[in-house]
């Protein structure tokens, strides 16, 4: 929930961007990984109050040196005042270090070795990365618009990613034939339904189970062909519910999906992948109850290509913690 954190504060943004090397990670992976990065992190974290007893969380904001000294730590990501104070304290400490530990090029970083494949996720080679945003919606004068929420930040867009493997991406490439129809690969359909069509605007929800997918049918159709590009429409419907009988289902999402894709034949890649799912959502899970709107209300999910090449767009999808299930959802 970075959108309502101290990192939205203009002074902190400036400090973080100019005076530090900013890095952000998912503690679920970081505290578990058994490789050079994992060991380095534990060495730093153990200098602070978060010892991770019993494998517990080590989340917080750490300021550290490249050679592994903890300069400051707080777990107060929602307080701009505390975070600003912490960053300034760390900078003051850093300035007092000898030249041999702080000047550019002074510290030598050892070689990394082998990454822990169990807890390192990298986008599939030659696959496709899509940004996924969800938002609670409303209707005003017949037009869809953003809705209000009692939960802090609950009215803002959520963020996640969708990864497709090389084979799955290849299966999306259209034939240059007007009207040609084809379906999304089954694994992609299930991945979208179970892991993307969720309301994650008020925290981490539980993902849909395979049995919750009552309907998920997405198909593609070529709508235009030129020597340079092929335009494709994506249409479909999905019904997710924790009970077969919708009258008693405590949580559900009944939505329609529409998308417009452009495949650039010269570049051999999709240059447009815009899609929206919109429909009625109801209910919440254990950690997302606060601020949930009563009854069935409009909820939307938007898919799109990353805007620019940057590390932040290579963050793994939230559901990818269970990697095998992510790749082959039931």
């Amino acid at each position: 929930m970075g959108r309502v954190s101290a990192f939205a504060d203009p002074e902190i943004i400036k400090l973080a961007s100019e005076k530090f090397i900013p890095v952000t990670v998912d503690d679920w992976y970081q505290r578990r990984r058994q490789d050079a990065e994992g060991r380095f992190f534990i060495k730093v974290a153990n200098q602070g109050p978060r010892k991770g007893q019993g494998g517990s969380t080590r989340q917080g904001i750490y300021c550290l040196t490249a050679d592994g000294e903890l300069l400051a730590f707080k777990n107060a990501g929602n307080s701009a005042e505390v975070t600003r104070e912490q960053l300034n304290l760390a900078l003051a400490k850093f300035k007092k270090l000898p030249d041999s530990r702080r000047l550019p090029g002074a510290v030598a970083i050892e070689s990394f070795g082998k990454p822990d494949a169990n807890y390192v996720r990298t986008p599939p080679a030659n696959g496709l990365i899509l940004r996924v945003h969800g938002r609670i919606l409303d209707k005003k004068d017949g037009e869809v618009c953003k809705a209000d929420c009692d939960f802090p930040g609950g009215d803002r867009a959520s963020r996640d990613f969708l990864w497709l493997t090389a084979n799955e991406s290849k299966a999306l490439i259209p034939k240059p034939e007007l009207g040609y129809s084809y379906s999304l690969p089954t694994a992609v359909t299930k991945r979208i339904a179970r892991f993307c069509l969720i309301d994650n605007t008020r925290g981490e929800p539980e993902f849909w189970k395979g049995t919750d997918v009552r309907k998920a049918d997405f198909s593609l159709k070529v709508t235009s062909v030129t020597p340079e590009k092929i335009e494709v429409s994506l249409m479909g419907k999905a019904l997710l519910a924790d009970e077969e009988d919708l009258a008693v289902a405590k949580r559900g999402y009944d939505c329609s999906l529409m998308g417009r894709l452009t495949y650039d034949t010269a570049k051999a890649k999709f240059t447009r992948f815009d899609a929206v799912a919109v429909g009625d959502h109801w209910g919440a899970t254990t950690y997302t109850q606060k601020g949930v709107r009563p009854g069935r209300t409009l909820y939307g999910v938007a898919f799109g290509l990353p805007l620019i090449e940057r590390p932040g767009d290579r963050v793994s999808p939230q559901a990818a913690r269970e990697w095998n299930e992510y790749l082959r959802p039931n």
Binding site: M1, G2, R3, F7, P10, I13, A16, F20, I21, P22, V23, T24, V25, Q30, A36, E37, F40, F41, V44, T57, Q59, I61, Y62, C63, L64, T65, A66, L103, P104, G105, A106, H133, L137, K139, G142, V144, R156, A157, R159, D160, N200, E204, S233, A247, S256, L257, M258, D274, V276, G279, D280, R296, T297, G300, A302, G304, P311, G312, V315, S316
Partner: protein
Amino acid sequence: MNRLFWLSGFVTFVLMTVLPGIFQRSAIAQGDALAFPIDEAPFQKMLKEIRPKADEDTFDTIPWQISLWNARILAAKEGKPILLWEMDGHPLGCG
């Protein structure tokens, strides 16, 4: 006793049948009007409504690295300290 029995039965009947029916009708009305496909302009508007606004995700303007090891290498090269934001659920991709 007999009247109380019938009264409680009537209230239960109303709660279990009539009210959910009203609720369902009002709810279905929300999504019903969204019949896809739609033209490019309303499609773009819908995407815009859902995606983050320009001023919504300012924390994302920070040039975040996503590997602590890469951050170490950059910090050593540039002579800067590291700022590590560690959260259960990735801050850039978790809700």
